[in-house]
Amino acid sequence: MIWNEKFETMPREEMRKWQGEKLREMVERVYYNVPFYRKKLQEINIQPEDIEGIDDLARLPFTSKTDLRDNYPYGLFAVPMSEIIRIHASSGTTGKPTVVGYTRRDIALWSEVVARILTSAGVERDDYIHVAYGYGLFTGGLGIHYGSEKVGATVIPISAGNTKKQLQLMEDLGSTVLACTPSYALYLAETIEELNIDRNRLKLRVGIFGAEPWSDSMRKKVEERLNIKAIDIYGLSEIIGPGVASECEYQDGLHINEDHFIPEIIDPETLEVLPPGERGELVFTTVTKEGLPLLRYRTGDLSRLVYEKCRCGRTLVRMEKCLGRSDDMLIIRGVNVFPSQIESVLLEMGETEPHYRLIVDRENNLDVLEVQVEVGDQFFSDEIRKLEQLTNKIRKNIESTLGIGVKVKLVEPKTFERCEGKTTRVIDRRKLD
């Protein structure tokens, strides 16, 4: 099923024409309504009427997360506050949160794009959607909520927390769709096993997982343990929240709703646009949003774009599953390390729990990475020798994946907090000095 045939299967030339028109309208709006953008555009001598088509996008200035912070809270809004009907915010790891605002039309647009991603995941009006994303300033809960209502499915706005009660309600109410972060999905699976709940009493068939990077091997694990199809969705509050992109049933890249959010891939160093298919930093321009339109917003996420038509019939460009946000990327002794790479190694080995934490420190001017891994009952041997062998095996596998030396430490189960929001997997002590 396709929610919006017109846009989701639009021929490429037509899409480019649409994007060009919308881009011109957007540049006009930000030029006259957002002093920050007017100044930037004037600096490079661009007037709104200079925008003739989508090819002019590459001439426009970038926007960074820092720009949002510098203009905290409402500085980049393009409409008077009386037009804003909703605020969301994402918690920053450092300093102030990023505040985003939506007009009534933005909320309608958001519902539309979430309805599209739900439909591409196979959700229909007969479904019961268990929304275990947090409700509140975080866009996850309310974003999925409005889109589900738009589809006409039955929304169960359970929000986050109280896992046992969640499972009880999931069974009683007959939830068929689970929407949450992948790490919470895994935690639910563990709890089901711990409580010996008969999986057949649950009607779950599909999961809509996003808000944190996760690997394909983690997907396999979640699919096996929950016996569902796990769909990866992508979104960030600066762009709109969930609804920016999502996989279809073929799980082969995430279709971007590019009639609203135009993607580009740039080289993060030179800032040059890279040719299709090359991997680089993902950048979005929100051409239709009213409240907070952003020109060439640098997401920090690394991905690549695939323009070939998908088997599902959609022509919307696909982005490769993100390895991780660059915020998550660690540079250790000059090597880029993503936590998801370590997760993949652990899941592929299957000899520990896939729960880990990375501790980065600096000893004698040298970066050291310690990987702490939880030992599960099923894997725990009571022989020191075997545990040491396991530690060495994990270390060797991680080292061959990352290309740098690491230290591996086994820790007791449930050492790392499981939470419904984003899980803290990295402690970087180098920044504390």
Binding site: D377, F380, D382, I384, L387, E388, L410, V411, E412, T415
Partner: protein, 141 residues
Amino acid sequence: MIIKQLSVFLENKAGRLTELTGILGNAGINMTALSIADTSEFGIIRVVVSDPEKALQILKEHNFSVNLTDVVCLMTENQPGALARALELLSAERISIEYMYAFSIGERAFIIMKTEDINRTIELLRKNNIELLKADELYNM
């Protein structure tokens, strides 16, 4: 003859062992024998208790990584050479010992051991008239 021994994974951090013994104590579970094997990073507590299944359940509830391991308990005279004889038998049959620990009460010495093949071990020791403690005897000692 097979004894169910609890094996618990512990990180080397202060207070964890105290916590473990406290939990068992509060549950009315008695410890008969205990040994600790450790490296600089972690330790393994091996303990024989009055009610292994119950202890396993309770420790799991408290988020310990724990499982039950099959071991045997030999009983010998508390005098030089008694243990050596048992070990020679195992060595002659090429049954390797993973680990062992011992305690003595008066005239008697008790040796708890895990070998690579617990059934063959039991068979061999019995055939050679080495006394093995029954599980219940050890649990309730």
